[in-house]
Symmetry: C3
Subunit: 140 residues, 3 copies
């Protein structure tokens, strides 16, 4: 049993920008030489999340639409009202609900993703930022 | 430390159908002979999720109601508009928000679930399908 | 590789009460003497969740506001209608969507949280209760 911790830094545009990181996660498993275990994918920010989606243009557009409906940008979020200069209250609420981490099993050296499952980083913030992720492979 | 990976295939009805898989998860821990560690329960599809709920008829009904309210079926989801024949845009959005995986600790050979916590598979798709899950036990 | 399982019991007020447990999680990693691996934080209740947030008063207020909007208290939830004496149907729906567990990687004996990321327990129930959590450290 061993642990391999691999940082992954990506420039994101904000505004529910989506970046497909499936290949980086798969390569971390291969590079670890481990056969069976879990990969934890974790983003080190409160206004971004890790998701698994079918990554096609319709789903990317619908993801933006549905977040704008259920947690809209609004100057009245108390995060914006109480902290001068902040405009990303909605980004925080989206990030904490979608969540910062995902755990994916692998076996025989291969991620056990379904045919249509892609691992993506989504950025809910209001401006472009560099985003740090951790891909940690743990197994035997 | 060891890893045991157990596939679990279940026919689901779609339409926010819920299947209780707690016993299968508990049996995977017992069969592994491991005493302490984590179980990762993962569904290999983008329109289904793993949840922990109090599994009683009221909660099952409320789960359908609340999803129909916050992410309703709608022919205008771009997943449906851009991909001829698709009608399950809402199923994707629900699945990616609820999430495909859960990690549950166990100790002394027993899952550390609370009294009312049950592990369920929920299927958000629009028709009946066979669903593949992975139950992976990792520990010592 | 080893596993350390640490219980954590906290009195919570209900009503989307938030308690910051970051220090307890960090201390569990330190006490384990493990260097690299994952911490699983799990709450053993169906009406409470583990979240990562930027923990400041605006976000705490906004978290209450947004849950009251998307899953409001309502005597018509079937959990309340079918089970005499129950009034917490909305608490269950919130807990199952936010989820009972989080997995956080650590390396060189330190949690890999971002600058603004704090681990919190949130209680969606309608009255004060004692809440049991598990902090499980697994690694080498």
């Amino acid at each position: 049993m061993a642990v391999r911790t691999i940082p992954l830094t990506i420039r994101m545009a904000g505004g529910t920008d989506i970046e497909n990181i499936t290949q980086s996660v798969a390569e971390a498993v291969t590079a670890s030489s481990l056969q069976d275990g879990i990969v934890t994918v974790f983003v080190k920010h409160t206004t971004a999340s890790i998701m698994i989606i079918e990554d096609e243009p319709g789903i990317r557009a619908d993801t933006r639409t549905f977040w704008d409906r259920i947690i809209p940008p609004d100057s009245h979020w108390q995060h914006n009202t109480l902290n001068p200069g902040e405009d990303n209250g909605h980004s925080h609420l989206r990030g904490q609900l979608q969540g910062p981490s995902l755990t994916i099993p692998f076996a025989a050296g291969t991620l056990l993703l379904g045919t249509w499952q892609q691992v993506v980083l989504v950025d809910f913030d209001t401006r472009s930022r560099m985003r740090e992720c951790i891909v940690q492979v743990l197994g035997e």
